[in-house]
């Protein structure tokens, strides 16, 4: 077990190094003078150019530049954003809770609906409900979510006036400290009446949009996994013992059917982050995805470089945790490899 853990953790080191190399190489490929790319300043005097070239270490050999980059990253220095002059890491950490909160509620939505819907479809295999769910889930994973977001805004927010169009909270009516960065938690802590509900109302549409594709995937996965389990001997035994159908399905079948579903959920962090970029852009959600796209518009390459690296690092880290947890849950994994 310990050997498996150590090996799995060691395996992420080359990935991290490669990620650093990728972001290091990417910013070098940006057309234009490297000093101008990194400082955002144009038309510098030759002296100033030479000064920055030395200051930024661009007069060093490439391999030294890379080592210096790795060294800085290892010390938590992800560079300074050109547009805000803040540290990239600080900006990221300020915005990341918003992305995390949105992703959490999106997954909550996807699991809360996807698992029961998929299980029910498996139980009623071939029936009208099953076919309807399969069709809806096909729509779900074929959906361009940026359009889905616009449609929801159009009908729910603009036409019906039910939910807010953008942001995390109504800034005119509510202002309070945000010690955690999670709006729902901060709203609860603030003692401002209605703030929590307002934060939830802002979360509904973005969470639905971000959760739609995972919902379709989870529903399909639960269905097929459940179908497999329902034909197992132990389910037949449970039925033969005279247990009620709801107990057989809910306790014996569903619990075992959920293992592959949990795998899918654990591994969907990468696609969640990709979806968050779009969802946050549509709803002006102040998270890291929105920030990343904004930094491209502002030609803020240090922010882009740091942002891509940090988002990818989160994904690699979460996948590592998922793998380690599996090692504990399912000993076959840690012994087999």
């Amino acid at each position: 077990m310990v050997a498996y853990f150590l090996r799995r953790i060691a395996l992420t080191i080359p990935t991290f190094l490669a990620l650093m190399f990728l972001t290091f190489a990417a910013i070098r490929l940006v057309p234009g003078d490297p000093v101008e790319v990194r400082t955002g300043e144009h038309g510098m005097s030759p002296e100033r150019l030479a000064y920055f070239r030395h200051e930024l270490g661009l007069d060093q050999p490439v391999w030294r530049q890379f080592l210096a980059y790795v060294w800085r990253l290892a010390h938590g220095d992800f560079g300074v954003s050109l547009s805000s002059q803040d540290k990239v890491l600080t900006e990221f950490l300020t915005l990341f809770p918003a992305t995390l909160e949105l992703s959490f509620f999106a997954m909550l939505f996807a699991i809360a609906i996807g698992v029961p819907a998929g299980a029910l479809a498996a139980v009623k295999r071939g029936g009208f409900y099953d076919q309807a769910l399969m069709t809806v889930s096909l729509f779900g994973y074929s959906m361009p979510i940026f359009w889905w977001g616009l449609l929801l805004i159009m009908f729910v927010s603009v036409r019906l006036g039910l939910l807010p169009v953008s942001g995390r909270i109504d800034l005119i009516n509510y202002s309070f400290d945000q010690p955690t960065g999670f709006m729902t938690i901060d709203a609860l802590l603030s003692d401002e009446p209605g703030a929590f509900l307002d934060a939830l109302r802002h979360l509904i549409l973005p969470a639905i949009v971000l959760g739609t594709v995972p919902l379709a995937v989870i529903a399909r996965m639960t269905r097929s996994s459940m179908l497999e389990v329902l034909s197992e001997d132990y389910v037949r035994t449970a039925r033969a013992k005279g247990l009620s159908p709801s107990r057989v399905i809910g306790v014996h079948a569903l619990r075992n059917a959920l293992l592959p579903v949990v795998t899918v959920i654990g591994l969907s962090i990468s696609s969640l982050m990709a979806g968050a970029v779009l969802t946050e852009t549509i709803f002006s959600w102040p998270g890291v995805g929105h920030w990343l796209i904004d930094s491209i518009g502002r030609r803020d390459y240090p922010a882009l470089q740091g942002g891509v690296l940090l988002i990818s690092a989160v994904v690699v880290f979460v996948n590592l945790i998922v793998d380690l947890v599996y090692g504990i849950i399912d000993p076959r994994i840690s012994h087999g490899h």
Binding site: L22, V30, W147, S224, S270
Partner: protein, 308 residues
Amino acid sequence: MATDVAALTRPIGDEAAAVLAQPSPLASFWAAFRENRGAVFGLAVFAIIVLLALTANVVAPHSPIDQFRDAVRAPPVWEKGGSWRFVLGTDGDGHDMLSRLIFGARVSLFIGLSVMCVSFIAGVTLGLAAAMTGSVADVAITRLMDLIMAVPSLVLAVLVVAVLGPSLANTIIAVTIVYLPNFVRLARASALGELNKDYVTAARVVGVGPLRLAASTVLPNCLAPLIVQAALGVSSAILEAAALGFLGLGAQPPTPEWGSMLADSREFIRSDPWIVTLPGLAILITVLAINLTGDGLRDALDPKMRRG
């Protein structure tokens, strides 16, 4: 099923003999594919979209980039004030929506198919190379693909486009890089599965060289899952490219690209909903049609991969 039984219970004749004879692979594939009504429907819709894209010059009522200054944001024909001149209305710059949507099919299909072709060929080559050469090359290729998979797809595509600059060609490059690992991993896994089988050993013993072994012995037996992946890859590529276009990082105006049309429509979300609705609908229909076809392909090509 009922017709099969009927055919088999008839007295033996030429027809029954034909049924009993081994059908050609293509015929048996088509017979299996045809059973899935959704897949046939999807294929039909996809064929229509392809036809529209190919004949866009003839079919589209207007040029996709002509601006009709006298008819900016004209409503579609079924709305009040609509006319047959602009069947689906015009957008904020006075472009004819229908023409832009038809030409947009050309752009999206071009992106989807080029991404699929390049990543299929490059992916299969790399995957087979990884599986058959072993050790160093295998580790290098697998690690590189792991790296690409570690970065969320759209984030990687955004990085590539941000570095290379937004354009149609760079969209294709970005999306190809993102989807390459799917093909490499699939080709490698299938090839590894086949390499231990007796027929490959037999071919080796007979003295078949490595290139021929890869191309004509192993590859044909790995094709089924790769073809399915290729079909589904087209729809993913179209979605990804549209997302880049929506973020302003894809094809630049006035190219009629569905994603960027959606982005331009955002300001009319309150006043002119059809400008927002139509491009997204075009994306959804195209992706749905391809996914339906892909599901049918999967069921028909490989009964083991059959869903449910």
